[in-house]
């Protein structure tokens, strides 16, 4: 009985954290606990949420991507600068440019056999530099006001980004659970060598996961740009860390082979609620930065210790 309760708590620990945060916030701010606040919260986390979905796919396969912040920034700049060709064309060009970065990362990792960390660190610097170069280090303002509809229209009183968020999570959930693309993801992350021996085209799939991750980052770039109708090369410089932290908090392992999209959205929600709490409690911006860093370290330490305990348990029983 006691063990069952303990396991129930362990299985639901993210939900419990979310509930605790909600209670704290509702007590601290009388106006917090309303449907409107939830919708605004979801709207707020949509950008990081979409990116975290892509990152989860990549993390499960055992890789990761530090360039997503730059991808987001570059997508926005391209959209704003190509608006003269029409709104739809500019959005497609932006998405294509962002996704192309993922393709480049994927090729370098798969064909060049270079460490994913180094490749994506390099592309993070290069594309941020490229963004600075083409904008002359100044933010660029969009000309088409209608573009803001993408993020600011709210059919049924719910902002469009919330629909994107739900759609992305539904698709990724389905892909991970019911398709070959998803099952191979877990297989490759669990054991690359045996996946290859079992006939999985590891290189092709790893490449696709990089592309998927960048595509999601580009999508987040569309939402962000449409929200502010501005492109800037400095957008998103802390994003990769927060997104990785959200996924790992949700139970996706940095060591690959393990993760769920449901966990990731809970991780994103928790980080979003903490940000919200820092605003409600009027925490100084610099303390917010400190707190964010401490959360990232706490998450990684917990993830490592859990992985080690699991290994220990396997060694003991096997």
């Amino acid at each position: 009985m006691k063990r069952n309760v303990a396991r129930l708590i362990a299985d639901r620990k993210l939900l419990i954290i979310i509930v605790v945060l909600l209670v704290i916030l509702s007590v601290a701010d009388r106006n917090f606990f309303t449907p409107r606040t939830f919708v605004r919260l979801l709207d707020h986390i949509s950008i990081n949420g979409v990116m975290a979905a892509g990152m989860t796919i990549l993390l499960i396969s055992g890789s990761f991507d530090l360039s997503i912040g730059s991808v987001m920034a570059v997508t926005g700049i391209i959209i704003v600068l190509t608006q003269q060709f029409g709104m739809l064309a500019s959005v497609l060009l932006g998405l294509a440019a962002g996704t192309a970065v993922g393709a480049l990362n994927g090729v370098l990792v798969v064909k060049g056999k270079i460490n994913a960390f180094i490749v994506t660190l390099g592309s993070m610097i290069i594309f941020r530099g490229l963004g600075l170069a083409i904008t002359n280090s100044h933010p660029v303002k969009g000309r088409i006001a209608a573009f803001q509809v993408f993020s600011q229209a709210s059919p049924l009183g719910i902002p469009l980004p919330v629909f994107y968020l739900v759609a992305v999570y539904a698709v990724v959930w389905y892909v991970l659970r019911y398709t070959k693309l998803g099952r191979n993801d877990f297989a490759i992350g669990g054991n690359t060598v045996s996946s290859r021996l079992a006939g999985i085209r590891v290189d092709l799939y790893t490449f696709l996961y990089f592309v998927a991750c960048s595509f999601m980052a580009a999508l987040a770039g569309v939402i962000l740009t449409s929200r502010v109708n501005t492109g800037s090369a400095v957008f998103g410089d802390q994003t990769p860390m927060l997104v990785i932290a959200a996924a790992v908090l949700g139970g996706t392992s940095l060591f690959g082979g393990k993760g769920t999209i449901i966990g990731t959205i809970q991780g994103v929600l928790i980080l979003g609620l903490i940000e919200k709490a820092m605003v409600i409690f009027n925490v100084d911006t610099n303390y917010q930065i400190l707190l964010r860093g401490m959360i990232i370290i706490a998450v990684i330490v917990t993830d490592t210790l859990t992985a080690r305990r699991r290994e220990g348990a396997v060694a003991a029983t096997g």
């Binding site: 390099g122 600075l132 707190l291 964010r292 370290i297 993830d303 210790l305």
Partner: protein, 308 residues
């Protein structure tokens, strides 16, 4: 043929110097050389610490934030005299390194995520202390001397750079701990099996790197009249580029201070050359990014050659 491969970077450096001195008449003047020495001494010192960490198959992405935090400690404590403030910088640096080292070597957490996390933490603390504002960096006159004086016609900063390079070079190449570090970087399991306490060696790497960041922070504050937390954060990618450019392998166990010195000279020549040729700042950033990618490809090429 072998010597050609071994010394690729030295040859590139020599070609670079020839090209730059033709492109700009000022490049080889003593005035410019001493300027370059002052400007890149902090880079060079940080690169020594990073080289040690990279040989141990790690990387410290929080190095620039440690630099910032140490610089803040240094400036705050200058009213109590230069001895106190320098000691504080070194202590803060070593403590930051100890935190990184503990999480990486003892807890065995992934070094990339750990140092990215501590990067945010150290920057946050530095921002909280300074409230994000500029600081007058050297109220204490001793630091003016350090930043601006010459000994035997060569800037004091340059002497410091040479001193740190020689000491860390000897530590790596001649000491027992240094040889063990190479063994751990090449194959940590084999090293452990042959009785090396690999966790302690890795821990020491990060502590030494933190200490070196502390030393660099003293030189940074003495070189510039004003600093901001942001000033220090620009150093990270430059330092990684220098180390990789020199040929210290990211896969661990290969490299050394001599290589990093060549990497530093190439990096400094390119940057100084771009400044002398009035290339706009944004393009300089872009060129730096491309150099890092080329350096990484070169590293990969070297790794395959070593594997045969």
């Amino acid at each position: 043929m072998n010597i050609f491969y071994e010394q690729t970077m030295l040859i590139i450096l020599i070609l670079l110097i020839i090209v730059m001195s033709i492109a700009s008449r000022d490049f080889l003047s003593f005035g410019n050389l001493f300027n370059v020495m002052r400007q890149f001494s902090v880079h060079g010192i940080l690169a020594c610490g990073m080289t040690i960490v990279v040989i141990g198959k790690g990387m410290d992405l929080s190095a620039a934030s440690i630099l910032a935090l140490c610089a803040v400690a240094n400036v705050l404590l200058q009213p109590y005299g230069y001895a106190v403030s320098i000691a504080a910088s070194l202590a803060v640096g070593a403590a930051c390194g100890l935190l990184n080292g503990y999480l990486i070597a003892r807890v065995k957490a992934n070094f990339i995520i750990v140092t990215l996390g501590t990067q945010i933490v150290f920057t946050g603390i530095a921002l909280i202390i300074t409230r994000g504002l500029n600081m007058r960096s050297r109220p204490e006159p001793a630091f003016h001397w350090l930043g601006e004086a010459n000994i035997l016609g060569i800037p004091v900063l340059g002497w410091f750079l040479v001193l740190i390079m020689v000491v860390s070079g000897i530590l790596l190449a001649r000491s027992i701990a240094g040889r063990r570090l190479y063994a751990v970087g090449l194959n940590d399991r084999a090293a452990r099996a042959s009785g090396i306490n690999d966790a302690r060696i890795v821990l020491m790497c990060y502590v030494i790197n933190g200490l070196i960041c502390g030393i660099a922070s003293v030189l940074l504050t003495s070189r510039l009249p004003r600093i901001r937390v942001g000033t220090a954060s620009d150093y990270l990618f430059d330092v990684i580029t220098i180390v990789v450019l020199g040929g210290t392998a990211l896969s661990g166990g290969v490299g050394g201070i001599y290589r990093t010195a060549i990497g530093l000279l190439i990096f400094a020549s390119i940057n100084n050359g771009m400044a002398l040729l009035h290339i706009p700042f944004e393009y300089q950033q872009l060129v730096k990014g491309i150099i890092l990618i080329l350096a990484v490809l070169y590293d990969e090429f070297n790794r395959r050659r070593r594997l045969g």
